[in-house]
């Protein structure tokens, strides 16, 4: 008797869960192609719950429905794939982000996107897969386009406005690193070593007095990299009579974040890894 009650309770619980999942599923049907991956995820969940349900007419019916739905989801995923590129391009229209390449890997201006149609996720990178910006992004072309636009806008909004001023800050940071490392001015130091000093130089007086998180101004390496690009593009080559030199990274260094920084060469996403910086006479 007790066993029977347990079975009935379990059946009722599982049935309720399936019903709830199906109700959620029916909402996704409104946009079958756009929600193809979400539909797939729910179908897998339904299947899991269903497996624990006692055999019978209801289970068979749901199973039949699942099989048909799986076929339709595959078709929807195909359709989604066809529409993806077109919609992404439409979403990026007017953004100035030039899209190149072929799916599953696209370069969008200074960013790149790796698309996984099997899992329905995308990964967004800075440069050609240089720095991971965001993984597991829902594969939704317009949403992805919006994300890329926001990264691009944010980068440009916060970028340096006065390259000469940035050059001076860079020089100050360089001198500080030289002192800290006990290196003579004019010698090469790791470019990434300057980043910490640059961050410190950017902080407000308020932060210096009371260095709490709320007052901290962040300066991610991506912004440093973009600002260096703007400096290069501006043609500023000397600071305080010293010539700015960036030394290209060797093969091994490019794999180590502490030893190399990727700096764009143009807005198309081409760039160069640099390891060292120096300010030399003449």
């Amino acid at each position: 008797m007790e066993g029977l009650i347990g079975v009935l309770k379990d059946t009722a619980l599982r049935s309720q869960k399936v019903a709830k999942l199906l109700a959620g599923y029916s909402r996704l049907i409104a946009e079958p192609v756009r929600n193809a991956y979400e539909r797939e995820r729910l179908v897998v969940e339904v299947e899991k719950v269903l497996d624990g349900l006692a055999p019978g007419e209801v289970r068979d019916k749901v199973r039949q429905w699942l099989d048909e739905e799986k076929r339709q989801i595959e078709a929807a995923k195909e359709e989604f794939k066809f529409e993806f590129g077109r919609q992404l391009l439409a979403g990026l229209e007017g953004s100035g982000l030039n899209v190149k390449g072929q799916l599953p890997f696209l370069r969008c201006g200074l960013f790149s996107v790796r698309v996984d149609f099997a899992t329905g996720k995308a990964t967004v990178f800075w440069g050609p897969e240089i720095e991971l910006l965001k993984g597991g992004v829902k594969l939704e072309p317009l949403g992805l386009a919006k994300l890329l636009r926001s990264y691009d806008e944010s980068l440009k909004k916060r970028a340096i406005k006065e390259p000469a001023e940035f050059g001076e800050r860079l020089f100050t940071a360089y001198r500080r690193v030289c002192v800290a490392r006990n290196v003579a001015e004019g010698e090469r130091v790791f470019l990434v070593d300057l980043l910490g000093e640059m961050v410190f130089l950017m902080q407000s007086d308020g932060f210096r007095v009371n260095p709490v998180r709320e007052r901290f101004v962040e300066y991610p390496r991506i912004r440093f990299s973009y600002d260096l690009y703007l400096l290069k593009r501006s043609g500023v080559r000397t600071v305080g009579g010293k010539g700015l030199r960036l030394s290209v990274a060797n093969f091994d260094a490019t794999a180590e974040k502490a030893k190399a920084l990727w700096v764009p060469d143009n807005e198309e996403g081409e760039g160069t890894f640099y390891s060292y910086i120096s300010f030399v006479n003449g």
Partner: protein, 421 residues
């Protein structure tokens, strides 16, 4: 063009969209200017003065790299160059293993020949070039006793073993010593031979990773001394990925490439021209792994009419609008199709234009729209042959392209799976 050849071309294009090895001029679009620069500046220019050159060919998957390489090959033949087209692949010929690259070069080395006919098996390989060499010598020399004198005059390339190998194969062929010829060729193709055979031909080296580059140089030097202007080596990373995978392999491959680029220009590679085609330069020069900046900078400059010394030939920028490109391609395909089937397919221009527009608009980020268009256009022409007067609507064009994409992706997937097992 004869009907059989046209039919073979249409068959190849319609099934995979990849170019056949023969008769490609019949459907070459947009490459003439680039090819003319290659011809004027290099094949009929600096290579004549025993110099050498390296070019990187970039273009999307299905974007015409193999087609371009075949077109270069055909022009090279006209100027009396031997050519080796080598399809690089992770297992058989990864670029990090130069000994395997050498083997594939030796297997695919081809003396100048007619390219508007179907190729035969005997046309390719270092053995075929030696046969050609022997036939030429026989036709010029009526006194066989002068053979030793002739061989003595030949300059010895970097590897004496290589020289002894080709000399041995050549002499054995003239003496009708088939076993000797086969043994020498076996070694020249990078296969093992017996100690006795090595002793007989005075071969003291093995073709392995430590000697591969020298063997490649020796092959180039030898070809130059036997009456050809030089060698054009066409390396094609034909698959979507690269022939190199791990970071260590990548470093070795990039080192090999850098060595090759640096050697070009010196006299050790007389009359040699290298083309390396990659589907995605990101995979070779950038990407998530370590990056070889020294090589990247060497390969940075763009090749064009205005800058023929540039290294990078970008097939995505041909100076012709994508739709116009496909329309012109469509016209060439119609001509070929009509030759192949001896029948007119009239009234297809509008449908092909629509197909071109749909391919560019909807599939530009997917499987190459160029390859997609070619396969779909051939299928459409077959439909018109069976059903004259057939006209495509926008919906039909999109459906045809979609079905074609799926078919191409499926066949690519099957190819990958076949290779994996």
């Amino acid at each position: 063009m004869d009907r059989e050849l046209a039919r073979a071309i249409i068959n190849k294009l319609g099934s995979t969209g990849t170019p056949p090895e023969f008769g490609i001029e019949a459907f070459t679009v947009g490459l003439d200017r680039l090819l003319q620069v290659v011809e004027d500046e290099y094949l009929n220019g600096i290579l004549k003065y025993n110099l050498s050159s390296f070019k990187l060919v970039t273009g999307n998957y299905g974007g015409g790299k193999t087609h371009f390489l075949y077109a270069v090959r055909n022009r090279a033949f006209k100027h009396n160059y031997c050519v080796a087209y080598v399809s690089l692949s992770p297992i058989e010929c990864p670029f990090d293993k130069l000994e395997l690259v050498y083997k594939m070069v030796a297997l695919n080395l081809t003396a100048p020949q007619e390219t508007s006919r179907l190729a035969t098996l005997t046309d390719k390989g270092i053995d075929a070039v030696i046969r050609h060499w022997a036939a030429t010598w026989r036709s010029k020399e009526d006194k066989p006793e002068r053979l030793q004198e002739y061989l003595l005059q030949l300059p010895v390339p970097d590897s004496t073993s290589f020289f002894n190998g080709v000399k041995g194969a050549f002499s054995a062929l003239l003496a009708e010593d088939i076993d000797g010829f086969t043994e020498a060729v076996q070694w020249l193709k990078g296969e093992e031979i017996s100690r006795e055979a090595r002793a007989r031909f005075k071969i003291s080296e093995r073709i392995d990773k430590s000697t591969a580059f020298r063997m490649l140089r020796s092959l180039i030097q030898w070809v130059h001394t036997i009456g050809f202007r030089g060698v054009v080596l066409l390396f094609d990373e034909a698959e979507r990925g690269m022939s190199i995978s791990s970071s260590r392999d990548r470093r070795r491959a990039l080192d090999n490439l850098r060595q090759l680029v640096d050697e070009c220009g010196n006299s050790r590679l007389p009359g040699a021209m290298f083309f390396y085609a990659v589907p995605d330069e990101n995979l070779l020069l950038e990407g998530s792994g370590p990056v070889y900046e020294a090589l990247k900078q060497r390969l940075r400059s763009g090749f064009s009419e205005a800058n023929p010394v540039g290294v990078r030939i970008n097939l995505e920028e041909l100076g012709i609008e994508p739709v116009s490109f496909l329309e012109e391609l469509g016209r060439r395909l119609v001509d070929l199709f009509e030759t192949a089937y001896g029948a007119k397919v009239s009234g297809v221009e509008r449908s092909l234009k629509l197909l071109a527009e749909t391919a560019v608009r909807g599939f530009v980020l997917d499987v190459s729209y160029r390859r997609l268009f070619v396969v779909a256009a051939v299928e459409f022409l077959h439909q018109v042959r069976a059903n004259p007067g057939l006209v495509l609507t926008e919906r039909d064009a999109e459906k045809l392209l979609r079905v074609t994409t799926q078919r191409l992706e499926r066949s690519e997937q099957e190819k990958v799976e076949r290779e994996e097992f």
